[in-house]
């Protein structure tokens, strides 16, 4: 069986880095929601999604991102994304997500963008 989804989480003071491994679709989105919810509930509103191990993301996954961004920003934070694969980037592009999220090449760039 193909890896469905596990989410690794690394936490700093205010920042959290989520690394979804597998795919996010209607089936696995709850796992992802749970991981994202957990860091938000701990007051970490600076979130980086490192997408390097993300095989694909269906609309449910996109919805999970879109559906929390306002809450995150109202709390003075942001959700930024890095290391998108070509195919995931194409999906982001297709629904216009790059207008809504800041996307970075490397995790380092995404993290340091919060320092600025």
């Amino acid at each position: 069986m193909k890896q469905e989804l596990t989410v690794e989480t690394r936490k700093g003071d205010k920042i959290a880095i989520l690394i979804p491994i597998g795919f996010i679709n209607a089936h696995t989105v709850e796992t992802f929601d749970g991981a994202l919810r957990a860091v938000l509930d701990q007051g970490r509103y600076e979130v980086v999604i490192n997408a390097r191990s993300l095989a694909y993301v269906a609309s449910a996954g996109l919805g999970a991102l879109v559906g929390t961004i306002e809450e995150i920003r109202e709390n003075g934070g942001d959700l930024r994304i890095c290391e998108l694969s070509e195919s995931v980037a194409a999906i982001f592009e297709m629904v216009g997500l790059p207008h809504l999220f800041r996307i970075f090449k490397t995790e380092e760039e995404a993290i340091s963008s919060f320092m600025a």
Binding site: K2, A26, H27, Y56, G63, V66, I91, M94
Partner: protein, 545 residues
């Protein structure tokens, strides 16, 4: 599905979201084996998965005892997918407009993106209720060009192998008619052409038919003036009646040193014209054959004189002719290049290759070592650049050539190279420097070195590259050269140096490219003051007008 459709996949899964990944994977595989590239296949799989997810979430409202039926079929030039369920009817209103992201974000909504995605991916989306069934039907036009990148690469490598095989054949076969006939056969096979002829010019400027295939008799054109072969790659400008009568409408002319040759083709079976890459192949094969013919003639003479170095001389002549005698004109630029081997044969190469999108590839490379072994790698690399330019983005092209060279020689010979693609309309040049001496752009008093790239070609497995980008300004002079130029030594072993090259070109920058080249070579000779050059010297000057 229409009766004429050919079904590629039929899949029935329980209405449980845990099966969505199975749907995704199977659909992706089917798309990938039916002309879709990796990216498009992934997107198509996503679209079908979204529809199946809709059936599970909405039609069955999460009940796990239903079934979702998925059928993929080819209908003519279209890939179709039908996703059926027997759940609650869809609302009968038309498809909603694409989701507004900002609105969704504001509302914290998590749905609404699925259908947007599906509509963007598929060319047409139709939902209908048929009896107790919901049917969602997606249609997407198959890619126009049936070749995937992988196939394109395979076809480029096939071309490359043809050139290498022909080269080998030509170097052992000295019968001009056979050489010409082999060249024709392999081109006809490549391009699906039924009738063809290979002509050369006699010293008196007349047509001589060396070989023909599929043509009953070529007698009617033997001895016509060479000038009868006007125009290239055109079907309308064949001026002479006997030529017209043969219906060999496509004429490709080429030269090798002083020799002139032409290959004539009937229209292709496919009815298509010739692409830039195909024209390049025809010219490369033609030139190679012509070079072998003249080389073999030279060899016949030399055997009579019992000269021991004849083979090397033949190799030198063949090699000289591999490099373009005349560079294509680049609009808004002035370009010139030359290459001098220090032994009979050398390991340097240069080329300017027109690309399909009216850009130009510019290549200069230097094989480690010199002499015959280096020259073999040089010929191989030259063919590889010719075949793969146009097919791969620069960084992938160099990675590929690195692999090809690495696999082609066990002697750990490698090459340094500079590869650029220039867009004359914007003057933008992307480039990759594979361990080569950085070419210099001379802009007034400023010098810009082009060093972005990576390691040398053919030495290490899995070498990867980065590309650089630069926009040339009017008056800029780009000098690309091999180390034989900058490392030329004077009698007291001083080197001419990169600074020497740059200073020399800067002083000459107002002159035409060919003149810069000539005067640079003259300066080198003056600097060397009679000391023999120790390495091959190749320079390419590109001047933005």
């Amino acid at each position: 599905m229409k009766p004429s459709a050919s079904v590629l996949l039929h899949l029935a899964v329980p209405s449980d979201s845990k099966y969505l990944s199975v749907v995704h994977e199977r659909v992706r595989e089917v798309a990938e084996s039916n002309r879709f590239g990796a990216l498009e296949s992934e997107q198509w799989a996503l679209a079908v998965e979204e529809c199946a997810a809709n059936s599970i979430e909405h039609a069955y409202a999460g009940r796990g005892d239903g079934e979702v039926d998925i059928t993929l079929a080819l209908e003519g030039d279209y890939l179709c997918a039908e996703i059926c369920d027997e759940g609650q009817a869809f609302e009968s209103k038309p498809l909603p407009p694409p989701a507004d992201l900002k609105e969704l974000a504001r509302m914290g909504a998590k749905g609404g993106l699925g259908l947007t995605l599906v509509q963007k991916i598929a060319d047409s989306v139709v939902r209908e209720r048929l009896g107790r069934k919901n049917i969602c039907r997606l249609v997407k036009l198959l890619p126009e060009n049936p070749m995937t990148d992988k196939e394109k690469l395979a076809s480029a490598e096939f071309q490359l192998r043809t050139l290498v095989d022909l080269g080998r054949e030509f170097s052992t076969n000295f019968d001009p008619e056979k050489v010409a006939s082999i060249a024709l056969a392999s081109l006809m096979g490549h391009l699906t052409i039924l009738r063809a002829a290979f002509l050369t010019a006699t010293p008196g400027g007349r047509l001589r038919v060396l070989a023909s295939r599929g043509v009953k008799s070529m007698d009617s054109i033997e001895g016509l003036p060479w000038a009868s072969l006007e125009g290239e790659g055109t079907s309308t400008e064949t001026p002479d009646a006997p030529l017209r009568a043969l219906r060999l409408d496509f004429i490709f002319r080429f030269t090798s040193g002083e020799e002139k040759g032409a290959i004539l083709f009937s229209p292709r079976l496919s009815g298509r014209g010739f692409g830039e890459g195909e024209k390049n192949l025809i010219h490369a094969v033609g030139r190679q054959a012509l070079a072998a013919l003249t080389g073999s003639r030279a060899q016949e003479l030399r055997i009579e004189k019992a000269r021991a170095d004849s083979e090397l001389q033949v190799a030198r002549e063949i090699q000289k002719r591999l490099l373009p005698a005349e560079l294509p004109a680049i609009p808004g630029f002035d370009v010139a290049a030359s290459s001098e081997a220090c032994f009979s044969v050398g390991g340097d190469l240069f080329d300017v290759i027109p690309l399909d999108d009216s850009r130009f590839a510019i290549v200069l490379a230097d094989v480690s070592g010199k002499g015959t072994p280096a020259s073999l790698i040089m010929a191989f690399a030259h063919a590889a650049f010719r075949c793969l330019a146009n097919r791969l983005p620069p960084v992938d092209l160099l990675a590929r050539i690195s692999e090809l060279v690495r696999n082609a020689n066990k002697a750990h010979r490698y090459l340094t190279g500079f590869y650029a693609e220039l867009d004359p309309s914007t003057r933008k040049m992307i480039y990759v420097n594979a361990g080569h001496l950085p070419p210099a752009i001379i802009r007034g008093d400023e010098t810009i070195e082009l060093s972005t790239g990576g390691s040398v070609l053919g030495l290490l497995p899995g070498t990867t590259f980065e590309q650089g980008e630069v926009t040339l300004q009017p008056g800029d002079v780009l000098a690309i050269y091999s180390d034989g130029v900058s490392e030329a030594q004077s009698t007291n072993e001083d080197e001419f140096g990169s600074e020497g090259v740059v200073a020399c070109v800067r002083a000459l920058r107002a002159k035409p490219a060919a003149e810069i080249l000539r005067l640079l070579e003259q300066s080198l000779f003056e600097f060397a003051a009679g000391r023999a050059f120790a390495d091959d010297r190749t320079t390419l000057i590109l001047k933005a007008l």
